[in-house]
């Protein structure tokens, strides 16, 4: 919700609005079922893969995926292409919904409560970001993360796929808190630099 405060800070809308995905999302406002089906066919696989990795069971994973796409269908007006590209926005939504499911299941406290209004979340792609198909993007990310040391990778995965905090990861890995923080930050910075270099 905090992000709403800063909408004005991002200046005029850019040319991402003209992306095919953004055009399809705009058609959802007109109840265009065909546009919805195209978006589903294009992205259900990565969304389902992500959600299944988090919740671990196919039944609950399908429920989350259904919920995510129904949210997209019913609340497409909330997606504003000026706030960023569609796919990262959709993945952020899917991840947070999946983590919510995981936390409710294990009665964990909702850490991301203030962040989980994903429908408002702003995601801004860096200048070097370019359009890639999903397969090439996956190869690139896996390759870069694969270059990290195993513990660094493990710490990032615990945070991303299990929603653990720095302290929880430190306890899980039995490593000092400062070490865990450094692993995660440095790992993500390396990923960022790797994506920049590769583009």
């Amino acid at each position: 919700m905090l992000d709403l405060v800063f909408l004005a800070a991002f200046g005029p809308k850019d040319d991402r609005e003209a992306s095919p995905d953004a055009a399809l999302v705009r058609l959802l406002l007109e109840n265009d079922v065909g546009a919805f089906e195209k978006l589903y066919d294009k992205y259900f696989r990565i969304v389902y893969s992500l959600v299944l990795r988090i919740v671990q069971q196919s039944g609950p994973a399908e429920e989350v995926v259904q919920d995510v796409f129904l949210q997209l269908w019913r609340n497409s007006a909330r997606y504003d292409a000026a706030r960023g590209p569609f796919v990262p926005w959709l993945l952020t939504l899917a991840r947070n919904r999946a983590l919510d499911t995981l936390r409710l299941k294990s009665e964990r406290q909702r850490r991301l409560e203030n962040q989980t209004d994903e429908l408002f979340s702003i995601v801004v792609a860096p200048r070097y970001e370019q359009e890639l198909d999903e397969k090439r993007r996956a190869e690139r990310v896996r390759s870069l993360v694969g270059e990290l040391n195993p513990q660094q990778k493990r710490a990032i995965e615990l945070a991303y796929f299990q929603g653990l905090s720095h302290s929880e990861i430190a306890a899980e890995l039995k490593e000092p808190l400062g070490t865990v923080k450094s692993w995660i930050r440095n790992g993500l910075i390396r990923l960022k630099e790797g994506l920049h270099t590769a583009s």
């Binding site: 800063f6 589903y40 960023g84 990262p88 801004v124 945070a159 991303y160 993500l188």
Partner: protein, 284 residues
């Protein structure tokens, strides 16, 4: 060093959801000031974090999912019924109103507040239950809405359970009251109520704000001779210096504890105290 420099190392962890509560609160408080630079950096960090989705092993869902989904979507498009837009998460009033002035009167006020809030939550629960029942009568198109409602219900129930626990600790005569006196600083006492079954509620009012990102950390001092202080939870007061900290699972039993102490520690807390206690209270 500009004001934003202290936050640069937090952007990625914040987008990842990995910041511990004190650091997250600090960054969010800064974002709430309208810092466009940090907001943009957080938004870019979200993009970076979203790329981690591609680490998930590729999996294929069943055709039935698409079938169910498309059936729902077609049905809704046909009826053109304006389904309820998902509302923003209810901003719960976890912040406690001004109530602590030490003593029974303040405790009564807090209890009344909890009772009122619990009543409100019950009403919301009842409304959500009714909504859920209606959803069950709908055709397959209501499946997604029902899931969202159930999720909301579960979240509200979780919060109610937390409030009940706090109320039980504060009102049960079995709870032990511990007054924590300030040590060598000008600050009001803190009050802790310790219930053997439900845990500890620690409250502070007009507490001096810890410097920078530092937090206040609660320690349990063991009765055993030579026993080391046992770390518990951390908290950072709000802008008015007030806080309420619930420790559901204290690291030791009250019968084994000699005193409670509060120190100022780096964000995230410390495994052992790094400063001398600012507040100390002996178990009665």
């Amino acid at each position: 060093m500009s004001n934003c420099d202290q936050f640069r190392e937090m952007y990625e962890a914040y987008a990842l959801g990995a910041l511990d509560p004190p650091e997250r609160s600090t960054l969010e408080a800064h974002l709430a000031t309208g810092c466009a630079e940090c907001a943009k950096s957080v938004a870019e960090a979200r993009w970076l974090v979203s790329q981690l989705a591609y680490l998930a092993p590729e999996a294929a869902t069943s055709d039935m999912l698409k079938g169910r989904l498309m059936q729902t979507v077609r049905s809704e498009a046909k009826s053109k019924s304006s389904l309820p837009v998902a509302t923003a998460p209810r901003t719960t009033t976890s912040g406690i109103p001004y109530w602590l002035s030490a003593g029974i009167a303040a405790l009564l006020l807090l209890t009344l507040y909890f009772a009122w809030d619990a009543h409100r939550l019950k009403q919301e629960l009842r409304a959500a239950n009714e909504q859920n029942q209606r959803a069950e009568q709908l055709v397959a198109s209501a499946a997604g809405e029902r899931a969202a409602t159930q999720q909301k219900l579960a979240g509200m129930e979780e919060q109610m359970a937390k409030m009940h626990r706090e109320t039980a600790i504060l009102t049960d005569p079995a709870s032990v009251k511990i007054m924590l006196a300030a040590q060598k600083i000008q600050a009001p006492q803190m009050v802790a109520m310790w219930h053997a079954k439900y845990g500890i509620v620690l409250t502070g009012q007009k507490v001096p704000m810890p410097s920078g990102n530092r937090v206040l950390q609660l320690w349990l001092i063991p009765k055993a001779p030579g026993g080391k202080p046992m770390p518990s939870m951390t908290v950072r007061p709000d802008a008015n210096g007030n806080f309420v900290l619930l420790v559901s699972n204290p690291p030791a039993a009250g019968s084994h504890t000699k005193a409670l102490a509060i120190t100022e520690e780096p964000a995230g807390g410390s495994p052992a105290p790094t400063t001398t206690p600012k507040w100390v209270g002996a178990m009665s």
